[in-house]
């Protein structure tokens, strides 16, 4: 991969909340996040609810301020920008939200929604004729009719609303779009339409995606690389096929195994069913965060937090997994099943 477009180093974010059972009031939502996104690339971000995916997205969108760490976008740190420079950075990174009903203001019509960003970025399309033409073009790009510009959001179906949300994100011609569960609120048949649209747009515009989802099938379909999050840390990254087919971190393996497969051959697979639930992020376990649910956990896991281990994948890309006892091969996975079952 060439020079990354977006690079995140050691990002931390702590929220102060009401007291937990052990009297802790600091919720470490992000704890040293490192990731990179290349130009035109799709990075898949998977993890269970409460793992910090959405906080990461909001921090990258500068809706939250990080406590530590840096974000570098084409060599500049957006958190150091002010005024006009900040505004022009805002233009480069945009977001599509999960809920196509809540993310559109019901009192505006479709045209106003799509052109809303230009009310702030006035110099982008200065004349109203340009703006109208661009709205028509954007609606066309996302598969809506130009005449839809006068409709209000209630008149659209869920899938069409999500198209509208994508059009709004495209209005500022961004380089990176953060997609926060863009299809999980949609029906299966509509979900496929939106995934196709996102794919087409990427081909056409060369935009990078950070695709956040809990649906592993979808992530496997869209992402070039995958990052797996658990309790505020990225515990494994690598090329999509590598991570899905040869997971090195036990959590990744369990996650892959737990997600139901559309397999009708009738052969019942061995599944790793994790016992217990996600520990509270208020009181994360010592050492390795996953040790409370891990079947490979040993004494060292409770004492020392594992360092990220970098290995070279067969295709030349880098693999990274934070585990003292990473899984070696697929065989290791079946062996694990017996212990976990």
């Amino acid at each position: 991969m060439s020079e990354p477009l977006l690079q995140v180093d050691g990002l931390c974010k702590t929220f102060h909340v009401a007291k937990s059972a052990r009297g802790n009031t600091r919720l470490k939502a992000l704890d040293g996040i490192n990731l990179t996104v290349g130009r035109g690339e799709t990075l898949g971000l998977v993890g269970e609810s409460g793992c910090g995916k959405s906080t990461l997205a909001r921090t990258l969108m500068m809706l939250e301020t990080p406590d530590e760490g840096t974000v570098t976008f084409e060599g500049t740190n957006p958190f150091g920008l002010r005024g006009k420079e900040l505004l022009s950075w805002r233009r480069r990174v945009q977001m599509v939200f999960q809920d196509p009903f809540a993310s559109l203001n019901a009192r505006m019509n479709a045209g106003d929604i799509v052109s809303e960003p230009w009310a702030t970025h006035r110099n982008l399309y200065p004349s109203s004729r340009e703006r109208e033409a661009r709205v028509r073009e954007l609606l066309h790009m996302v598969g809506l009719r130009p005449s839809d510009a006068r409709k209000s959001p209630q008149e659209f179906s869920g899938g069409q609303r999500q198209r509208l949300g994508i059009a709004r994100a495209l209005a500022l011609n961004p380089d990176v779009i953060i997609l926060d569960e863009p299809v999980s609120a949609l029906d299966l048949s509509v979900q496929a339409q939106i995934l196709n649209l996102l794919n087409d747009l990427q081909q056409e515009l060369g935009v990078s995606y950070i695709f956040i989802s809990h649906d592993l099938t979808v992530v496997r379909h869209v992402a070039d690389r995958v990052a797996v999050m658990y309790l505020g840390r990225i515990i494994e990254t690598g090329a999509t096929e590598e991570v899905f087919d040869h997971p090195r971190h036990p959590y990744t393996a369990a996650l892959m195994s737990a997600s139901p497969k559309l397999d009708v051959t009738g052969v019942k697979r061995d599944r790793i069913v994790l016992q217990g639930e996600l520990p509270s992020p208020l009181d994360p376990p010592s050492g390795c965060r996953f040790r409370t649910r891990c079947w490979k956990a040993q004494d060292i896991c409770a004492e020392v937090a594992p360092e990220p281990r970098v290995t070279a994948a067969p295709d030349g890309g880098l693999r990274l997994a934070e585990c003292h006892f990473p899984l070696e091969t697929v065989k290791g996975l079946t062996g694990a099943t017996a212990t976990a079952g």
Partner: protein, 332 residues
């Protein structure tokens, strides 16, 4: 754009949009239907609107038509009962203890009443809502300080404040308006803050922030249009309160000064004659109640009519309003 992007366009449009009920002409298509036509569909709202127009016209041109009838005393006709044309049309609503025409006094009082109540409500609404929306949007210390100020104003006896201020300064209409507005600001402040605090965490507000929109722009574009209908409904209820508050000030002699007359003043003056001449306080009281209810009904209607998500309720036959359960099941 090339064909790869336009292809899903053609597909997606097939059934969903075309089968949608297309409404009557342009009206419901552009999301801004003809409000007047919608109004005529709702009988209660129509009646309220007509009443308000009539009362408004009375307040504007009525006093000129009445001439000096409202102040002309005629002791021969003192305390005449209403609903009798025996003493001429001007005594159709009876007369007071000085023999002045109730009808004329009500008409003249309407102007005074409105010239105090309308500005008082408007000032309180404007200041309270803007302040509340601002405090709720920013949260943090701005919210805390604002709410404490509101608490102080609320807990301070407003009548005492009015008495002090109006004794120190002269009891002019302007001062009454200011005092009434000041004591009612917290009502709007609290409502606006609560709604705004909820709205600022909504996704479409987050979306606007990601464009880099400034807080004031977001407040103007996304918060106020949503909060305003609620506040307007509140304001119509406040209208009643302000008229009555003005009457108690008048009763204490620091409100509207005779020979000027307001509905509230008429109610309080007539109270001592309630046993013998009920019409002295009942008629102005009815005027206050009718005005308030009409304004309230119209505001409630307006709140629904300006909300695109609820507007369809007004378009349906009235009988079925009860069975307004959404067709769709919960999303999976």
């Amino acid at each position: 754009m090339t064909s790869s992007l336009t292809e899903p366009a053609a597909q997606d449009q097939l059934p969903g949009t075309e089968n949608r009920p297309s409404g009557k002409g342009n009206g419901s298509q552009d999301g801004n239907p003809n409000l007047f036509r919608l109004l005529l569909k709702d009988r209660f709202a129509t009646v309220s609107a007509v009443l308000l127009v009539l009362i408004g016209l009375t307040a504007v041109i009525g006093p000129a038509l009445m001439g000096d009838l409202a102040t002309k005393q005629n002791l021969l006709f003192a305390n005449k009962a209403p609903f009798s044309l025996a003493h001429g049309w001007e005594y159709v609503l009876g007369s007071d203890s000085l023999g002045r025409s109730m009808l004329a006094r009500l008409v003249v009082a309407s102007r005074t009443t409105f010239s105090v109540a309308v500005p008082a409500v408007a000032v309180a609404l404007a200041v309270g809502s803007l302040w509340g929306v601002w405090a709720g949007y920013h949260r943090g210390w701005r919210e805390n300080v604002s709410m404490r100020i509101a608490d102080v104003i609320m807990s301070f006896p407003s009548l005492l404040l009015a008495v002090v201020v109006l004794y120190v300064f002269s009891p002019s209409a302007g001062n009454i308006v200011l005092i009434l507005a000041l004591t009612r600001i917290p009502i709007y402040l609290r409502t606006a803050r609560a709604e705004s605090a909820e709205l600022q965490s909504r996704t479409f507000v987050d979306a606007a922030r990601t464009f880099g929109a400034r807080p004031n722009a977001i407040i103007g574009r996304h918060v106020i249009p949503v909060v305003l209908p609620t506040l307007l409904t509140l304001a119509t209820l406040e209208f009643c309160y302000v008229m009555l508050a003005e009457s108690s000030l008048s009763f204490l002699g620091i409100g509207i000064q005779p020979p000027d007359v307001s509905w509230g003043l008429m109610v309080s003056q007539g109270r001592q004659y309630l046993q013998t001449a009920w019409w002295l306080s009942i008629f102005p009281g009815v005027a206050i109640v009718v005005t308030t209810i009409a304004a309230n009904v119209l505001a409630a209607w307006l709140r629904i009519a300006t909300d695109p998500a609820q507007r369809w309720r007004l378009a349906l036959p009235r009988k079925r309003l009860i069975a307004r359960i959404p067709v769709k099941e919960a999303k999976p």
